[in-house]
Each structure stands twice: as structure tokens, then as C-alpha cells.
Amino acid sequence: MSMQTFKEWFFTTDHKRIGIMYLIGSMTAFVVAGMMALLIRLEQSQLGPTITDNPNEYNQWLYFHGAAMVLAFLIPGLTGFFANYFLPLMIGAQDVAFPRINAFSIWLFYGAIILALLSFVIPDPPDIMWTGYPPYSITTMGNTAYYVFTLHLLGFSSVLGAVNFLVTVIYMRAPGIGWNQLNIFTWTTVAAFVLQLVFIPVLASAVTMLLFDKYLGTNFFNPEAGGDVLLYQNLFWFYSHPAVYVIFLPAVGILFEIFTTMCKNRVFNYKACVYGGIWGIVGISGFVWVHHLYVSGMPDWLRIGQMVTTLLISVPVGLMVMSMWGTLYKAAITFNTGMLYAISCLFLVLSGGLTGIPLALTAITVHLSETSFVHAHFHFIMAMFSAFAMFGGIYYWFPKMFGRYADGKWATTGFILNIVGVHVTFVPLFIIGAQGMPRRYWDYQMFPQFEPYHQVATLGAFMVAAGMSVTILNWIICAFKGKVAPENPWKSCSLEWTHAPNCPQAGNFPNPPTVTADWSPYGYADREANLKATTDPGFPGAAKPAE
């Protein structure tokens, strides 16, 4: 690699290369955090000490697994990689509005990953889970400072990303693209960035107060001097509940892109999905965080009010899910690996969503709170639904990124191992959670009857590990040696397929697109008319309207 090539990659400000760097960083975090999950499962596979007799070590695995999966894999994977690579292509832009700030964001993200990885080598690493509740996070000997700064770096990265992408979508859409002609993925990403912009600062403030309390002796969370220990939980969940939607929404957006293309169909109920579903979630998301504090105690009016708002979330989610099913209805569906992942998400969002209802109900949640039922519920939504949507998206856009297919028997093998494995892991946790298995505990001496369930769950975790190894190896091999794909292999109508060639070069479009009011990214009903509503893509292999 020449010095010039190295600089053009390492110091790049191009949105596609930054996207690939996000992909590499977030998949690295996924692999390391996944190994932590395996250690956790191994430790739980037998009563008593199994692979460590030091509970602190177990806490550190939990810390890294939770923090890295949410903050370094899911959020940067969705709003970093997918948004960076595909959003400018979808709206017909040559790059984002502020390319240097985009590079700044990726380096902040890598800074956070390095800081998180340092926790494996420093003395007294952080041991406060990804939530960092005081008073423990203040009294612990562990390095709470690294936890706080990891969140600061990631938060700053996300806020700047939000500014960047909001300006990009507002000002850099190809001439002619109206708001109702945007891809659903663009809408969901915009919504996720609005959430990031508004809510992340609150998290940043909460952990800053934690930092001041621990190291400078302030009294934010110290009731003895007039502080309020619940203040942290309120501020933390004020961000961290919407953070679930920061993950959920772009994942839904990816699914819509896959469904519409593979079903050759428009989005069913587009406007209800966008303005009711996506923006409905954004609207309600700031009013539900208190359901994370049910056990901490609160007045009844607040408890019941929050139960209502929490249940209300299922309305916008329902609108989006209905749009997905409506898009599939009576369509001529093409099945490939991306579509397999996408279809499985329909099931995962159902089981994950339905198990959320008992947790929202104030009467039942006191029993279920802090059990592995909660743990299984949010893994269904976050770890499985959102991650599977990402994997589906990677298969779907693989030809765009690398000009090659990643589908094939290895891809399918990986998929089957993954989908079976996650259920083998988490269904037993639902069962024992409902019977009272506490989550996060290093050991469960009090509950010897749960041991076989834990062993099944551990077996499932190793199936997923095998499935993910196959999947990731398959991606790496196919990126270099996969079967070469033609331009627009899935025959999509969206701009990133019709007007940008595979492996887009700097500047993205040989002939930057312009569209008319008749164009739609989902104009499958009459492809010819839809192509005529845009300019000529101007590269060999691109679909052109018949004259």
C-alpha cells in the first residue's frame, strides 16, 4: 500500500470509507463483547465457581459485554456504518455536509473503543455495568472515570454525527426529492439522529455529575448533603430508554429497504408508517423512561401514567409492523440471505414486543423486574431483532459495497445456527426468569433447580458463536473472493442502486441524479415510468428506461 493510499484510507473524510471504518470498529466490538457473553454463559453453566472464583472478574465481563454491545456495536453500527455508507447514496448526495466532522466522529468512536479495551489491562478496571448506578459507581475502587469518558467520547461522536446528518438530509437531497419521496431508512435514521441530538446531552450530564461526585467530592447523588440518588437513574434512563429507539428505528429502516426490494412492492401505508410510526415513537420516547425505575419507588400517579405511555409505544410500533406485513402481502417474494434475516426479524419483534407488555404493567413488573425475564426480553429486541436487521442489511448491500455477493450455503448455515442458537439461549431464560432467576448474578446457589436451563442457554450461546464465526468469515472471504455481482443485482428502484455503481468511487455518482415528483424509491409498480422520472445514471450496466 503506497503512502498515498494509506493516507486516503486512514485520514479519509469520505462517507463510504468512514462507513467501512465504522463497520470494522463496531464488528470488532461485537466480537470482543460476544466473547464476554460466552464467558458469562460458561460461568453460569454450573452452580458455584465455574471458570472464575472472583465475582469482580465476572462483573467486568458484564460491564464490557453490556457497554460494548449497546454503545460500541449497535449504535455505531446502525447510525455510524449504515447511515454513513448508505444515507448519502440514497438521497443522491456526493458526501455528507461536514466531511471533516464526520472523520472527527469516527476518531472519537475509536477513542472510546480504545478506552473500553484498555479496561482489560489497567488496574482497577470499571465494574459498574453499562448503567453505572450510584452509590456503587462512586464508592467502588474501580475506574469509573474511564466509563464516564467512554460515554463522553461516544456521545460527542453521536451528537456531531446527528448534526452532520440532519444538515445533510435537509440540504443535500438530490434536486426534486420531496419529503414523501425519502426512503424509510432515511426517515428512520433522521428520527434516530433527532433522538441522539436531544437525549445524549442528558446522559453526558448525568455521567459528568457522577465523575464530579466520585473525584471532586460534589453532592449531586449524595442524599446526606442534599443530593438525590434517584436523579442519576432519571437522567440516565431519560437518554437510555430513547437509545433503544436509536437502535430500533434504523433497524426497522433496513428491514423496509430489504422487504420492498425483495417483494418488488411499495411501502404499505407509507405516510402512516413515517408520520405515525417513526415520528410517533420520537414523540412518545421522552415520556416513558420512568418504567426503568418502577422498583426504585415513585408515587402512583407517575407509575400509572408511565405505564400508559409505555403501552402507548406499541401503537407507533404497530403501525410500522403493519406496514411491513402489508408490504409482504400478496407480493412475489425473492428469498435470499438478507431476506431470511429480515423475515426472522418479523418474528423476533413480535416475541420481543409481546414479552415487553408484562414488564410495562406495574402490577406484574415488580415480580419480573431484575430477573432474567427482563434480560431475555431486551435481548430479543436489541440483540436479536436489531442485530439480525443489521446482518440482513449487510447481505442486502454487500454487492453495493464490494461488488460481490455474500449469499450462499455458508451464509445460510450461519443464519440457521444464529436463529436457532438465539432461541435456545433466551427461551430458557424467559422460563427461569418468570420463576425468579435474578439477572446479573455471578452465581445462583439459592436456585439449584435452574442449572439445567442455564446449561441449555450456554449451549445456545455456543451455537450463536459458531453461527457468527461462519457469518463473519463468510463476509471477509466474500468481500475479496465472492461471486461478482452485476449492477443493481436485486433490481431495486432506490437511488443507491440505480444511480451509483457498485463500489462507488469518490463523488458517488458518475451523473448526480435529479428526480421529478413522479419518482419514488419504491416505484416498482411501473419501473419504466419511475426510471424516466430521473436523469440518466450514466455508467455501464445501469438500468435505463426504454426510449
Binding site: 471533516r100 472527527f104 476518531w107 474511564y146 446531552p201 450530564s205
Partner: protein, 253 residues
């Protein structure tokens, strides 16, 4: 894009070293230095990290400012939109600290809590006047710039910075005064909120002054950029507006 990466092609892979060095500098200067000093109580290590981070940060900022002034952006003038969007998130940071304040204050039996000294009334008023006038002077500087009066622009920019410095000195004077009266961040809930809110605001003033330095140094050599000046000015007005909330909530409630 740096000069050496220019090719004859219409499009080429753009790159810039500036963001990397800024982040590297911040990485050494904030998390590593802070943890070395406070968590591991190793001042020598902290000094080494700070010594590594500072030059990286300054070099990164210098590169970035230079590129901002010399390289044509992909689309013009959107920074004036991006900054207000960024300010939304800044507002939420301040809001969180205000929420902490309100929760503590409204939940307390007596306020101010025991151990709080008598607060001066004149000083915050003077500080308000100083900061308010600095908003006026930066506006005049912008006007001068709009009328192509470069000398006048630099002059009024320097006035603004002097007023900002005056504000900061008064903050430090007051802190010093309060420390003498045994009032510290850990004294009680009010000490916590007083020093964190005013300190947080002061850090924004210092940040604003840093941005002005980045505008001023190239301007002395005749290099200016309208969007950059507009952004610096918007940010300064924002810091000014926040002060109204801080001063009314902390001193006059």
C-alpha cells in the same frame, strides 16, 4: 483535502489529518490525564499525558482552521445551520444541570443549606453587563466585516475578547472569594450546583474565546471566512443567553 492530494481527476478521495490529531489530543488530554491524576493518583503520569496531548490538540486545531479557511466546502454556508442544531444539544446539557438544581432545591427543607455564605449582588450584575456588551461588540465586528472594514472587524473582535477575559477574571475572583469563606463544591448541595453551573458556563466562555483566537490569528494575516465568523458569533450569543438563566436562577432566586 490537503494540497498534495490534488489530482487532475474531477473527483478524488478526500482526506484530512486534522480530525485525527484533535481527537488524539483530546484523548490524551482528558480521559488519560484525568484518570492518571484522580483515579491512579500519579501526577507524573498525568503530566506526561497532558504534555503529549496538548501539542497534538493544538496542531490538529491549527490544521483544521487552516483547511477551513483555504479549502472550498462541498456545499456553502450550511455551517450556519449546523451550529444552531448543535446548540440544541448544548441546551439540553444545561437543562440537565438545571433539573438537578431544581430537584435539589425544591426537595430541600431549608434553602440555601447550612454553610452557604452571603452572596454578592453587585458582581453578578457587573458580569451580566460585561457579557451583554461583548455580544454587542461581536455584532459590531460582524457588521464591520460585512462592510469590508477589515481593520474595524479585528478591532471590535479584540474588544469582544477583552470583555470575555474580563468576565472570566471576575468569575475567578468570585471563586477565590468564596473559597476564602470556606465554600467549596463539596460544602453542600448549593456549593455543588453553584460551582458546576457557573463553572460549566465559564468553560463555555473559555471555549468561545478559544474560537475567537482561531478567528483572530488568521484574520491578522488577512485570512477570514464569513461562515466561520457567523458561527463564532452565534456561539457567543448562545453563551450570553445561557448566562441570563444561570444568573437569574443562582443569584436572584
Amino acid at each position: 483535502m490537503s494540497a498534495e492530494s490534488s489530482h487532475a481527476h474531477e473527483h478524488h478521495w478526500e482526506w484530512s489529518q486534522a480530525p485525527f490529531w484533535v481527537v488524539a489530543g483530546v484523548f490524551f488530554l482528558v480521559p488519560l490525564t484525568f484518570a492518571a491524576y484522580f483515579q491512579y493518583q500519579n501526577p507524573l503520569l498525568a503530566a506526561i499525558f497532558a504534555g503529549l496531548g496538548t501539542p497534538m490538540l493544538l496542531a490538529g486545531i491549527a490544521m483544521w482552521v487552516n483547511e477551513g479557511l483555504t479549502v472550498k466546502p462541498l456545499i456553502a454556508d450550511v455551517a450556519g445551520i449546523g451550529l444552531p442544531i448543535f446548540i440544541i444539544s448544548e441546551i439540553f446539557i444545561f437543562l440537565s444541570f438545571f433539573v438537578a438544581y431544581w430537584m435539589m432545591r425544591l426537595g430541600a427543607d431549608v434553602w440555601p443549606p447550612e454553610g452557604t455564605p452571603e452572596f454578592p449582588v453587585t458582581l453578578p450584575l457587573i458580569m451580566t453587563v460585561v457579557l451583554l456588551s461583548s455580544s454587542v461588540t461581536i455584532h459590531i465586528a460582524e457588521e464591520k466585516y460585512a462592510h469590508n472594514d477589515h481593520g474595524g472587524f479585528v478591532k471590535w473582535l479584540i474588544f469582544t475578547m477583552l470583555l470575555g477575559l474580563m468576565f472570566i477574571s471576575m468569575t475567578f475572583y468570585e471563586y477565590n472569594h468564596l473559597f476564602h469563606e470556606e465554600f467549596y463544591p463539596d460544602t453542600n448541595a448549593f456549593g455543588t450546583i453553584f460551582f458546576s453551573l457557573t463553572g460549566f458556563h465559564a468553560s463555555h466562555v473559555i471555549g468561545g474565546l478559544g474560537i475567537f483566537v482561531c478567528v483572530l490569528i488568521p484574520a491578522l494575516r488577512g485570512l477570514t471566512n464569513k461562515t466561520f465568523i457567523t458561527c463564532a458569533s452565534i456561539y457567543w450569543h448562545f453563551v450570553d443567553v445561557v448566562w441570563f438563566f444561570v444568573v437569574s436562577q443562582i443569584y436572584f432566586w
